[in-house]
Amino acid sequence: MTNPEYLSGHGRSLLDRRKFLGTAGLSTMGLALAGLLDDDGLLAKEPAAAGGVAPIRPNIDANNPYATRPSHFNVPAKQVLVIYCPGAVSHVDTFDYKPELSKLDGKKPPGMPAVTFEGPTGNIAKPFWDFKPRGETGKMVSDLLPNLGQQVDDFCFFHALSTDTSAHPQGENFINTGFTMEGFPSFGAWVTYALGTENQELPAFVAINDPRGLARSGKNNFGNGFLPAAFQGTDFTAMNPPNNLQRPDLVSPEADRRTVDLLQRLNARHLQKYPGDANLAGRIASYELAGKMQTSVPDVMDLSGETEATLQAYGVEGGSELRGQYARNCILARRLLEKGVRVVQLFNGSDPSGGNGVTNWDSHSKIAKTHAMQAEIMDQPTAALIADMKQRGLLDHTLVVWATEFGRMPFLQANGTGRDHNPGAFTCFLAGAGVKKGFSYGESDEFGFKAAVNKTTVYDFNATLLHLMGLDHERLTYYHNGLERRLTNVHGHVVTDVLA
């Protein structure tokens, strides 16, 4: 391994102290004393991941956990943007056109359950918004999302998704971590663990939370679970920088510099006692990186250089205050991707207590009003973001994932104004690198009640996302508590039909 480019001469010279060991014929990798993966090479044998194939454990250097690592196979996607819509977007009111619902409006056909998640069920309700054909492909999309509707020719829809739970936090956990339970690494953490990142001066994985706060599963959605903390999403938005990024107000820039210099001297002296210790050198390097982040993060957050046309296209002004804030987050997402950040996860919705009137896509009552309020925030900025990425060429090497945790029922709840959770069928879409354009995979039944054709589990969906990132979901593993853990547990098949 050569010394990382991002290190200063000082940092490099510290690492060079390992020379004396080099002469003993050691590779520097062997020096990881209690490295990130100190099980490596110590396990009884290379146990097969569930499924019977040998795991590919990323070779992680304790010095530099974010170093770029190769994918398992070559793919166009180098980065990924996940736009996550907590609360469950109604597929039958947005992208999954079901004319049968209009015919049966107000009726209750046989086969519909008496009780769903929140209680007794009511009658079938036609979509609350009209559907129209959009784009060259003529894909039917409702008037709720006219801006996203314009771009359907770039999208690849999954209409037969189904999940294992009808509760939000478990649903969020499932789609974002692969398990309904607490404590598993998020998709973004897995990708970061596998691939590292291109730009060492920004966090490898950024979670841009909704202006109203975290979603219901909170940090699980972008957490590291049992992976090393290095791979968790760093949490900031266009408005709020990461915690503790800036030097404290009471410390002048010069004084701050002097502290850092003093620290380096003290550490250099200490390292003489432990020549070649990778952990110590790695920690020294992390302080240099932190210093660089103190300028690179504010730079990327600074939207003042964006043109008026861009601000307008994203809808920064002219809509609700929340749309403006979300639009800024969308611009931030694009800027992060332009800088090479590996994973950006953008949230459109929070926890129920977070905001003013509507907090996420959950719509147990008055769906006509609540979905409209949420769509006003999401539609234009998201559509502008994807269009902007396309125009700047980012889609060529970035996978875009638009996701929610489950769908909503074709019938109303007994209260007559909202739709309950539907784990049996829901819609998500992909766009960008490696994905078919203007394509729809799978079908729900005539009511949008259950997946009917090409049923796609959350495991399949996540397996496909990893595949699109060049990762074999059966071989990307981390040993934890007796198991080679995977994002997809012991399940999942890549949906090859959607690959471009």
Partner: protein, 951 residues
């Protein structure tokens, strides 16, 4: 009549092809579809007169249909059908393919009948002909006779090392100047690689290392100085004394309890949607700290955590509910979702026990037999049967008379009783017990009590009336024969009267209402079956939240205001006996009453905190029958299983299927801690080793199965395990043989070894031969845990509180039911306690130490990974916590040394790093101190590698 006492289903007789309704019901309940039943009974009608012969009738079917995938060459799903014994044992599913005599229990028959489309055999094909199914069925029914194979047994004992009995190995004879057996074992391995221990670490390093490993705190300057001084006189004695002092320090328990809490992912919230706080869950943390400090033998420690309710250690059962759970309220209304949630909660309990005590990954066996280890799906559900009486929730823990909480409670209750005697002379009084209010009355004998409220609308989840004789008997309870009455015209919709005395707390309660200008006020009357003596009335609006949770907005509201109580006398006349509305009058009449009441309320708050209190340490429910769940789904129950441990390790507990819950847990605890169980002591000894040396002899500390690591020093591990159970080494402190299962004995042995006391500096020969330091040719340095960094900073500034145990310090808000916890203050003086006492909210970033691999408490964390990230650097450079503490350290240094800047810098080094600066360090620090201030010098010191690493 073909029958069998063990059989659930009684098959029809030779002439009968009928099946009775109850049998269908049973079969349906076992999810064996009617389809099979009819198939079996058809067969019995047509074919049972004929004897099926294996070679002629069965072998051709198996060869044609099965052996290609389940034969000699291939064993899909680990199933072989070419040997009778393997048929009986079954494959990876865990279900016997063939149960002789019982086709309805034979998985082979189920899959060829395509009962479950997802497990239909042969796969992706039509069913095999009915005639063949009939032959197979009949063959099994006739006993599955396979000539020549009737004696064969497939079940073999595992030959995996960790399941083998522990035999204490001889200590090798190695001449390395140490009498410690640990050094003998390690020395032999080192010699095999032509290595030896490194030279001894210098005393300054040693005192820092031992202090951090044993107590989680760096030594104070005074402690270092004292050790250095005594070391110059007698190095050996000084070190032995140091170890004794550290093992006796109350901070020892705080350090080692944290290790245990990590393994079982203990936290104070539920996780999942509302992530609510678990009321008084921390009393379990106190239990663990106390257990380590008191050196509770490990076998007792385990037993109490599993069945502490039977031995006066009820707080110990917090262990069983340490994982996350989804409360019923947020599961949703669908019954299948609720069954799944209960199964998930049981799984959390099993994971805790299996990972922490047994070192096995039991979760694999939830859906099928464990792929690598001798753990069957039956084992999983038998273990689940052990814990069927456990539910996630609160109770008043059972505490022995000498339990500190009980002792304290008795003390406080005695003082309360004395005040009661005083107050009784001054009329009635009301106590606020947070979750409920209690009005004390002069003892009155009556058969009818009326409570009239001052507010126009009231809401109660329960109203209880007690008397002086049986103080716990609620006389108002409907099931005790009391009748409640309130005028129907005052009723509130959906808040029925019966809820006021049904014994259920929570959101479902009784409401009563009158119009705004009404002259009548809401009231309620209770009629007892016979005259009773009454002296207390207890009311609450939602006591369930009070019992289960805390830090919730709107908790403990009382929606009833003031009230007065009357009792009917023998003549049917209502006589006032007490009221909350005349306290002012009483105070005027008895001026000392005010002080008494203030003191009483203080005592009540104290006893609620320090005495026995409702605590989230599990609640008990009636155990239901336990079935194996096909592929882990509660919708596919199969055969019933008794409570038991692992069959591989003689886990039969000899219990009936309907044994009482506590009996099950007691028997299981006995099994898990018996000396013949090889896993428990191996796992325990290895875990201690892991925390002393930074990595276990088995590095996968919670997985001793075939997928885990093999021991680097297997004989040493077995010697340690044997020594733990049956100590032979004399304990220098008592000069006797140590107590069996003593954890302190094990720790002392390890830290007294030469291996622990050697230098951590790298050596070329060692780095070449063993770069991972697995053989311990030096002491392996490592980055400190989040807790050590934080606690040692607080200690350096002199801010660290020394109270052991108690409620967590708060860093979060009081939240709404459905919202996220927010960190509101993670640095102020109220947080200056050891970090083990920091509120532990599952999956909440504390915005400071989560970046240092502080666990999120979602999954079992047997070992923490060690990350190095720029976010750690930012937190440790720029956080309010570090800035404030830097200032405090600097102030302390100046205060202790006077105005001389160099002396102050000296002191800062001593306080943070436990040493004095070199000349060049002093010069560099002086420059910064002069240009800026001493705070920034301390900020740099806190950030050094020297501070952050265990030397």
């Amino acid at each position: 009549m073909v029958s069998n006492v063990d059989s659930v289903v009684i098959l029809s007789g030779p002439s009968g092809s009928f099946v009775t309704e109850p049998i269908i019901a049973i079969m349906n309940s076992l999810r064996l579809k009617f389809l099979i039943a009819s198939a079996i009974f058809c067969v019995s009608a047509v074919a049972n007169s004929k004897e099926v012969q294996f070679v002629r009738d069965i072998a051709p079917i198996l060869e044609e249909r099965c052996w290609h995938c389940h034969g000699e060459d291939e064993q899909e799903s680990e199933l072989r059908l070419d040997r009778r014994a393997h048929m009986l044992a079954g494959g990876g599913s865990g279900f016997a393919a063939v149960v002789p005599g019982k086709p309805e229990q034979s998985y082979l028959i189920e899959v060829v009948n395509h009962v479950d489309q997802e497990m239909a055999m042969p796969p992706d094909e039509a069913k095999i002909p009915n005639a063949e199914i009939e032959l197979l069925t009949q063959w099994i029914k006739q006993g599955a006779i396979w000539p020549g194979q009737m004696e064969a047994v497939a079940k073999e004992k595992s030959n995996h090392w960790s399941f083998q009995p522990i035999v204490r190995p001889d200590v090798p004879l190695v001449d390395n100047g140490s009498t410690n057996p640990i050094d003998a074992f390690l020395g032999r391995s080192l010699a095999g690689r032509k290595l030896d221990f490194s030279e001894s670490a210098d005393p300054r390093t040693l005192v820092r290392r031992a202090s951090i490993v044993l107590t989680g705190l760096a030594p104070t300057p005074a402690e270092s100085a004292s050790f250095l001084k005594s070391s110059t006189q007698n190095r050996e004695q000084a070190y032995a004394d140091l170890v004794d002092r550290l093992l006796e320090s109350p901070h020892f328990g705080e350090r080692w309890a944290q290790h245990w809490l990590d393994v079982i992912r203990w936290a104070e919230t539920n996780g999942s949607e509302s992530n609510m706080y678990r009321k008084n869950a921390w009393i379990y943390r106190d239990y663990v700290i106390r257990a380590f400090n008191a050196d509770k033998p490990y076998n007792e420690f385990m037993t109490e955590q599993i069945a502490g309710d039977t031995m006066g250690q009820g707080d110990a059962t917090g262990y069983l509910v340490s994982g996350s759970h989804v409360p019923v309220a947020t599961v949703g209304q669908e019954p299948s979702a609720r069954r799944q949630a209960r199964a998930d909660r049981m799984d959390e309990i099993l994971q805790t026990v299996a990972a922490s005590a047994m070192g096995i990954t039991i979760g694999c066996a939830r859906c099928h037999n464990h792929k690598f280890d001798p753990i069957s799906i039956q084992d999983y559900y038998s273990m689940s049967a052990v814990f069927q009486d456990i539910e996630f929730g609160s109770r008043f823990p059972e505490l022995s008379e000498d339990h500190p909480r009980r002792v304290r409670g008795m003390e406080l209750y005695r003082q309360i009783a004395l005040l009661h005697e005083q107050l009784k002379k001054m009329g009635s009084w009301e106590e606020n017990w947070t979750g409920y209010k209690e009005l004390h009355l002069p003892t009155t004998k009556t058969s009818k009590v009326r409570i009239t409220f001052n507010w126009n609308g009231v809401r109660l989840d329960e109203l209880e009336i007690f008397g002086p004789t049986d103080q716990r008997r609620n006389l108002a309870l409907a099931s005790n024969g009391a009748q409640a009455f309130s005028p129907p015209e005052m009723a509130v919709v959906r808040a029925q009267l019966r809820k006021v005395n049904d014994g259920h707390y929570g959101t479902e309660g009784w409401g009563c209402k009158v119009a705004a200008k009404s002259k009548r006020k809401p009231f309620i009357e209770f009629t007892f079956q016979k005259p009773e003596e009454v002296n207390r009335i207890r009311l609450s609006t939602n006591r369930e939240d009070f019992l289960e949770t805390d830090y919730l907005e709107g908790l403990n509201r009382f929606n009833f205001g003031g009230y007065r109580v009357e009792a009917q006398d023998d003549n049917g006349e209502w006589k006032p006996v007490g009221s909350t509305m005349n306290f002012d009058t009483l105070n005027k009449k008895h001026p000392e009453r005010i002080a008494h009441m203030t003191r009483l309320q203080e005592l009540i708050e104290q006893v609620s905190e320090e005495g026995p209190t409702p605590s989230f340490v599990a609640r008990f429910i009636n155990p239901v029958t336990t079935h194996v769940l096909g592929r882990g789904s509660p919708e596919s129950p199969r055969e019933e299983v008794p409570p038991a441990g692992l069959q591989e390790l003689e886990g039969d507990l000899g219990l009936p299927k309907n044994a009482a819950g506590r009996t099950r847990r007691q028997a299981f605890a006995q099994w898990i801690t018996q000396k013949s169980n090889p896993l428990t002591p191996r796992v325990a000894a290895n875990r201690i080793w892991h925390h002393v040396f930074g990595r276990g002899i088995v590095t996968t500390t919670s997985d001793f199965g075939a997928a885990g690591a093999i021991p680097t020093h297997p004989e040493l591990l077995d010697w340690l395990a044997a020594e733990m159970m049956d100590p032979l080494v004399i304990d220098p402190a008592s000069e006797n043989v140590a107590t069996a299962w003593s954890m302190k004995h094990m720790i002392r042995l390890m830290v007294m070894s030469q291996a622990f006391r050697q230098s951590s500096q790298p050596r070329e020969d060692g780095m070449v031969a063993d770069p991972d330091t697995a053989l311990l040719w030096r002491f392996p340095p490592k980055r400190l845990e989040a807790e050590v960094i934080r606690d040692s900073i607080l200690q350096a500034s002199g801010s660290l509180g020394s109270t052991i145990g108690g409620r967590s310090y708060r860093i979060h808000n009081v939240k709404k039911r459905y919202s996220q916890w927010q960190v509101v203050n993670n640095f102020g003086s109220s947080t200056w306690r050891r970090m083990i006492y920091q509120e532990r909210m599952r999956r909440v970033d504390d915005q400071m130490f989560t970046a240092f691999d502080f666990p999120d408490c979602g999954q079992v964390r047997a070992r923490r990974p060690i990350s190095t990230t720029p976010l750690q650097a930012l937190n440790l450079m720029n956080s309010s916590f570090v800035m404030q503490q830097s200032k405090l350290i600097a102030e302390r240094a100046v205060q202790e040394t006077g105005s001389d800047q160099n002396k102050a810098i000296h002191r800062c080094f001593e306080l943070v790093l436990g040493r004095v600066p070199t000349a060049s360090e002093l010069a560099a620090c002086s420059t910064v101190a002069a240009a800026d201030n001493l705070d920034l010098v301390c900020r740099a010191l806190i950030n050094t590698n020297e501070f952050a690493f265990l030397p």
